[in-house]
């Protein structure tokens, strides 16, 4: 393994292509951490945004006018503003209003860190789109299918669990995939509030080693692989969920 890494030092000496993240163990470790931070951030936000989407879609079906209006307002706010502005708003505007707490070194620190704000803002950003996606899926389930369930004695909740959601999910899976891919790419914005994900780490490395083209190329390829993997998994899932003879 060490020979493999040292080959890149030789590559640098011979050609000037400087991939410090391979031959320099310090850079390598930061990049690996950055990579896993990106994955961690993505997975948490994926999960939270799906939960927000499901809850929002359920609340949108509420008989209370104000509940529906609040959900609608949330969607408008997050869909019509840039995600970077949202993140700055959360971190700088809301973050400055948060109470501070003493940390283990005796320094006063906000209760919510930049990590927390990144997770919150990204989840709400993707969640707003997920609400609309799930709602469209739920609306695509024919009223007559719901009636059939009712006439078999299903309650509203049981109809939702056993009939509406399984069908709605299949309808909205392609749109959901698109939004989740978007979310993974948008995690790079966390760079702006110093969350050490891949882009942030790459920036640190090229500041030290002045190897901007190499790091940018690496980043681009890393995201191709990462998002490609997600798309592959989601496509397989979509295929596995496909119903023979339905909706074709």
């Amino acid at each position: 393994m060490e020979d493999f890494f040292q080959w890149f030092r030789w590559l640098y000496d011979e050609t000037g292509i400087n991939l410090t993240i391979l031959y320099d163990s310090f850079d390598r470790e930061r990049m690996v951490r950055g990579f896993f931070n990106t994955i961690y951030l993505s997975l948490i936000c994926l999960a939270l945004s799906v939960v927000i989407g499901l809850v929002g879609a359920w609340l949108q079906g509420s008989p209370l006018k104000w509940t529906r209006r609040i959900v609608q307002g949330y969607i408008q706010l997050f869909r019509n503003t840039p995600p970077l502005v949202q993140m700055y708003f959360f971190f700088f505007a809301l973050g400055s209003l948060m109470p501070r707490m003493e940390n283990e070194y005796g320094i006063m620190e906000p209760v919510l860190s930049n990590w927390h704000w990144a997770i919150i803002s990204l989840s709400f950003f993707a969640g707003a789109f997920n609400v609309e996606i799930f709602r469209s899926g739920i609306e695509a389930v024919p009223r007559s299918t719901v009636e059939a369930a009712e006439s078999l004695g299903y309650t509203r909740l049981k109809t939702y669990i056993y009939v509406v959601l399984p069908l709605a999910f299949r309808v909205c899976l392609p749109a959901l995939n698109n939004n989740l891919v978007n979310l993974v790419k948008t995690t790079t914005l966390a760079y702006a509030i110093a969350v050490p994900e891949m882009l942030y780490v790459a920036n640190q490395i090229w500041s030290d080693s002045v190897n901007v083209p190499e790091m940018m190329t690496f980043l681009l390829l890393a995201y191709v692989v990462l998002v490609g993997l997600l798309v592959h998994v989601m496509n397989r899932w979509e295929r596995a969920m496909r119903l023979p003879g339905y909706g074709v």
């Binding site: 024919p142 007559s144 299918t145 009636e147 059939a148 369930a149 009712e150 006439s151 078999l152 004695g153 299903y154 309650t155 049981k158 056993y162 009939v163 399984p166 069908l167 299949r170 119903l243 023979p244 003879g245 339905y246 909706g247 074709v248």
Partner: protein
């Protein structure tokens, strides 16, 4: 559980010599439009009743009122002694008694034919899975679909799907079956297989209410015919008389157009 004890009490008062479905003075309005304007008739246990009439005359609405898919505005509908027009209605108790089959089959497309039949008894009635499965297999055989248990609705023809829908309703062991134009969406060749299934049921003594445009079939299996127009029952009678000597001008005109 006051509602269930109440229904138990009303159930106890129902005896087979009384109508299993009793419809009295039923009115139903959709906005300004009055679909049902005072419909009254009784169905005895084991009877096969056919309701015919021009579209928009309220036939389907009437069936949908019987299992409370649509609430009524006035009047009374009793199913085996249980009042449907009651704000405290125990819908589950009612829907256990009344099976319904729709024009568009409305099967659950994400479940196989057998699972469609098994779902409600397991998920709604919480019956034992193995027992339900055994009964469901028998029902599949009864509707002549053995061998198609694992097919998804999308893989079945319209007639086959409709027979699964019938089996799905029967799995709840209903006292009354409602058929809402169940052959209207089918190819002419597959209509027959569904009608044969319904006739089998009728011959076994199942109480059936059909809204249909299949006049030949209605004449063959009905004990009683009802002709509706503009939300009222215009004419009724045993099929022989009904078809041979319709008295009302509207019935004559309608039958003249159809036959």
């Amino acid at each position: 559980m006051s509602s269930s004890s109440e229904t138990a009490a009303t159930q106890a008062t129902w005896t087979p010599d009384r109508p299993i479905v009793s419809i009295h003075g039923v009115h139903k309005r959709f906005g300004d439009f009055e679909v049902l304007r005072g419909v009254t008739f009784d169905v005895m246990k084991g009877d096969v009743v056919c309701v015919i009439g021009p579209s928009g005359s309220g036939k389907s609405t009437l069936l949908r009122c019987i299992n409370a898919l649509v609430p009524i505005d006035e009047g009374s509908i009793q199913v085996a002694g249980q009042e449907v027009h009651d704000p405290k209605l125990d819908k589950l108790a009612l829907r256990k008694k009344v099976g319904m089959v729709f024009q568009q089959y409305n099967l659950f497309p994400h479940k196989t034919a057998l699972q469609n039949v098994m779902m409600a008894p397991i998920q709604v009635l919480k019956q034992d899975k193995a027992e339900v499965r055994e009964r469901a297999l028998k029902l599949m055989k009864k509707v002549r679909l053995n061998g198609k248990e694992d097919a998804y609705p999308g893989e079945l023809s319209g007639g086959q799907q409709q027979r699964v829908a019938i089996a799905r309703s029967l799995a709840m062991n209903p006292d009354v079956m409602l058929f809402d134009e169940v052959t209207a969406a089918l190819d002419p060749e597959t209509v027959k297989e569904v009608l044969v299934t319904i006739r089998d049921l009728a011959e076994e003594g199942m109480t059936c209410m059909l809204v249909t445009h299949e006049m030949g079939f209605a004449r063959e299996i009905a004990d009683m015919m009802y002709f509706t127009d503009n939300g009222v029952i215009v004419e009724s009678g045993p099929p022989k008389e009904f078809f041979a000597n319709p008295r009302d001008a509207r019935t004559k005109e309608f039958l003249g157009q159809i036959l």
